[in-house]
């Protein structure tokens, strides 16, 4: 089982870079935003991975139960709020994409650059 001790971090690295690949390679602005939210989710995974303690449980104190091991509540608080802020900023990005589509008639990056270049 020792072998799997770092598996979460490897999954984090791969998912992070998959999202990053979409951000830098894809020309479609919506696909870029999807890539960005995958990237963001990978960071959430990194934080939540760090909160786990062996034999621990969710940090909710039960009356009369002693000797309970709790996982770390702090990363959970940080990520809980970050998820909600993440959706708000993604929505703002999508709103900008919708306006770009209305002004340029396209959401492909190279077509937008061409239009800018020749006008």
């Amino acid at each position: 089982m020792e072998l799997f001790g770092l598996y979460n971090y490897w999954a984090f690295a791969v998912v992070l870079m998959t999202g990053f690949y979409a951000v830098i390679t894809k020309g479609n602005l919506i696909k870029k935003l999807i890539g960005l939210s995958i990237f963001q989710s990978a960071v959430f995974l990194l934080y939540i991975t760090m909160d786990k303690v062996d034999g621990g449980t969710a940090p909710i104190v039960q009356k009369g139960v002693t000797d309970q091991v709790f996982s770390n509540p702090l990363p959970q608080v940080l990520i809980l709020t970050a998820i909600v802020v993440g959706i708000s900023t993604t929505a703002l990005g999508l709103a900008i994409v919708v306006r770009i589509k209305e002004s340029y008639g396209t959401i492909e990056e190279h077509e937008i650059q061409n239009l800018d270049h020749y006008s």
Binding site: G56, L74, A95
Partner: protein
Amino acid sequence: MVILFAVFLLTLLVLTAVAIVRTENLFVAVMLTGIFSLLMAANFFVLDAADVALTEAAIGAGITTVLFLGALALTAEHEKSVSAGRWLSMGVVVVTTLILVYATFDKPRLGDPEAPVHLHVAPWYLEETPELIGIPNVVTAILGSFRGYDTLGELFVIFTACIGVLFLLSGPRGQHLPPDDMALSSTAHGLRHHLIPKVVGRLLIPFIVLFGFYVQFHGEYGPGGGFQAGAIVAAGIILYALLEGEAQALKAVPRSVLMGMVIGGAMLYGAVGIAGIALGGNFLDYSVLADNPVKGQQFGILVIELGVGITVCGALLSIFHAFAAREPV
């Protein structure tokens, strides 16, 4: 056993991420993001983060998908493939992944109780919460009280993002149509003529909203709180809008009420902070709100969680309506 399950979930997560990036049909990509979020929520749950799992399931799998679909309806469903620079970026990504994996060999193993992150301030929170705040859920205690400033800041980020979306999307094209015209537009009818979604939806919506209220007011004792509750209630009302049409949903919860919720929730949170000053304490110091400091803390957390829930629900619904009301080009 649990670790094998976790490895299985993480592998599925990686495969879903790759599939999302590979597909050129954006509709498929958005549907896969819903699955991605649900897998992520399951992973969070395996890692003992029940509150975060609830948030991710409500927001990631529910509301994000709807917003992306709303944006797709206004833009395009297919992306055009670009081949320039693909191999270069593939190389960059592979090399960076390998460097990151190399860096993980210095990380403490999963679940190591001696990891630096568990030795600093976290034990203090776990030890002092029952005494100082007296509520079982330590995550809610930190969110509402110990790190109350942080949460206030996050709430105003959501508020600002909502205002930004409304500014961007309520221009000339986003004008609310008069009711007669609205009846003609395609979004107005929703799925009203599809019997099965309508019946199932009508059965489910009251329970979704009820569950949202439970999560709101039970957040001190179990997983939950304002952020999750706001998202769940918003999801219930969005489902109503999808089934019965946008006009019907706006009749139930008009735009003016939504704006009042966005502003009122944030102001309620701020007002609790000011009340702390007025009663002789510090900003967002709830101890002075009642005769007994512990009671004061509990009361303060209850009220600010309510403020958070109202603002999150109002903001998500306003954003949804902003996308839904806009006419496609």
